[in-house]
Symmetry: C2
Subunit: 356 residues, 2 copies
Amino acid sequence: KKNYRIAVLPGDGIGPEIMQEAVKVLTLVGEKTGVTFTCEEARIGGIAIDTDGTPLPEETLKLAKESDAVLLGAVGGPKWDQNPGHLRPETGLLGIRKGLGLFANIRPANMHSSLVDASTLKPEVVSGVDLIVVRELTGGIYFGEKKRYDGPNGEVAEDQCIYNEQEIERIIRVSFDIARKRQKRVVSVDKANVLESSRLWRKVAERVAADYPDVELTHQLVDSCAMQLVRDPKQFDVIVTENMFGDILSDQAAMLTGSIGMLSSASLAAGSFGLFEPVHGSAPDIAGKGIANPLATILSVAMMLRLSLEMDEAADAVEKAVWAVLEAGHRTGDIAADRSKAIGTLEMGQLVRDEL
Amino acid sequence: KKNYRIAVLPGDGIGPEIMQEAVKVLTLVGEKTGVTFTCEEARIGGIAIDTDGTPLPEETLKLAKESDAVLLGAVGGPKWDQNPGHLRPETGLLGIRKGLGLFANIRPANMHSSLVDASTLKPEVVSGVDLIVVRELTGGIYFGEKKRYDGPNGEVAEDQCIYNEQEIERIIRVSFDIARKRQKRVVSVDKANVLESSRLWRKVAERVAADYPDVELTHQLVDSCAMQLVRDPKQFDVIVTENMFGDILSDQAAMLTGSIGMLSSASLAAGSFGLFEPVHGSAPDIAGKGIANPLATILSVAMMLRLSLEMDEAADAVEKAVWAVLEAGHRTGDIAADRSKAIGTLEMGQLVRDEL
Ligand SMILES: CC(C)[C@H](C(=O)O)[C@@H](O)C(=O)O
Ligand SMILES: CC(C)[C@H](C(=O)O)[C@@H](O)C(=O)O
């Protein structure tokens, strides 16, 4: 295929600035490979609340569904923090995940060797960390029934955490498929000593593992995994876990590297369709200043090329360009040892394209 | 009062070894203060499963209820890992928490300056860390209704996370009372952008805060807190959170110090009654070898003296004795830089008593 439609959702805060650089990189990839990328923009998050009165306008979801892949910047900001639930930027995010069936969130936590010092952990503990958290993204306590009512001891609030076998099986399979191309080790994280959903999770993981005799499956309790990530993050290859645990552990794992301005993530549906975004947030405090790090968004483009568009070579080229720029010593403020030498968003984007 | 009844539950693995040293310290405290401690042993966990056919025999719960405080070693081991739920050691732990109404789990994560090197984090990041995680211990998803049934997509499992205002209010109050005696800063951790129970949590936290104008309350989302604990653990004074999040974050926080063989915890009921235990587990791999570190259990005795028995001076004395022994360079294997110089459980206990 020589023509792809890409839905581009810049979102809020630094979203538009970093997305601009990412789209420029994608355009250059198109020129060099002869592939046409038709990038169509739409609103999500706070900007959509302000303009359309909802964090996820119908036309945004429609555009995304008609596209081959989605690029997302970031959503949210203090302006909308006090809004009621249905008018909050995150609700747009949860809505698009569910609406597009993006059940598999792939969050690599790795680091370029030149950034080891950015970590709060000792170099010998983090250098060489290369793990992927595979998080279930459309089930569990995020999407279970919610209740609020009055009881004898004041108001009562309930959240239901619910999983069925099929939901668990498909995410476990994603993790095994990924592990196969890596070190072939999956750690399934649950709280099977307490939760019924975790006991079902573990049972399904065991069953699926039988189809992957070449991949090693072990189980870790979530509290223990949170400890092990601090004690020895290098022990992990692929971690697979449910939605809520994945939210916590993937953020913890990201921060171990000390440079979340560099990390990107993919959220995949069945088939090759996916949404790609940086791990960091909308950073409202530095929005509009031209100093945000565009590399995580540019690396999201690489993930998209590889995972949704079968353009592995182009993906490699983008990643290599990013590493080359880092090796040459260029840094945005968030990853700079010496902030006075930090470069801006546009300059960093240009350097990556020059390298490409 | 000059006579206290203490329920002593050594449990499994290294439990009996470390408990022995703790009880010797308590006895010595009694001799020096003229207070009589009547220590009565009972079974819990795996040993109770083997002997009584249940992880929490009625007589153990009865003894605990009739006591002024409970000292617990540790429960669990591979022998019972494949047992069905009601015959698992952890079930005894959950049962005694609920049975005694121990709703407030107090987990300090701090470290003696001489142990800074044990951490996987850089010394400048961890030295001086002194935080307390206050975890709600008898509610939430741990004790909500559980279901398992067949559906169109295979088996379905459900866990209900439920909180009422009263349950939230009392644990928030505990955290504010603790913060008052410290740096007066409470971070309440929830996932209010997704969970109904977290929205109620946050509302109650705000309401209770009005009664403590001298204490600062801020809110952090659980994923963000997991990041901040890695990025800058010194920012925290008191963290208060619900049961499941507290399980994860308190273990993560403990591991930041690098020496969980040194950390103890309290689980308190309304009033002064409490259960005190080391944070580490039953370590079946080193059980019976006489090399386990008894200091966390000895420090649990100090916590008990302070929090349940109003013996602050004696508590201080025990803690000082422990620090003095560490300063003199004595180490068990788990915290030794040079393992060949490590001392055993009995020797460590004796050194603390000599110091006392
Ligand atoms: C914004 C929030 C709803 C979201 C989540 O919890 O999934 C975010 O933390 C993430 O990890 O993408
Ligand atoms: C053993 C387990 C049920 C328990 C818990 O999750 O509460 C443990 O992890 C703890 O933190 O004391």
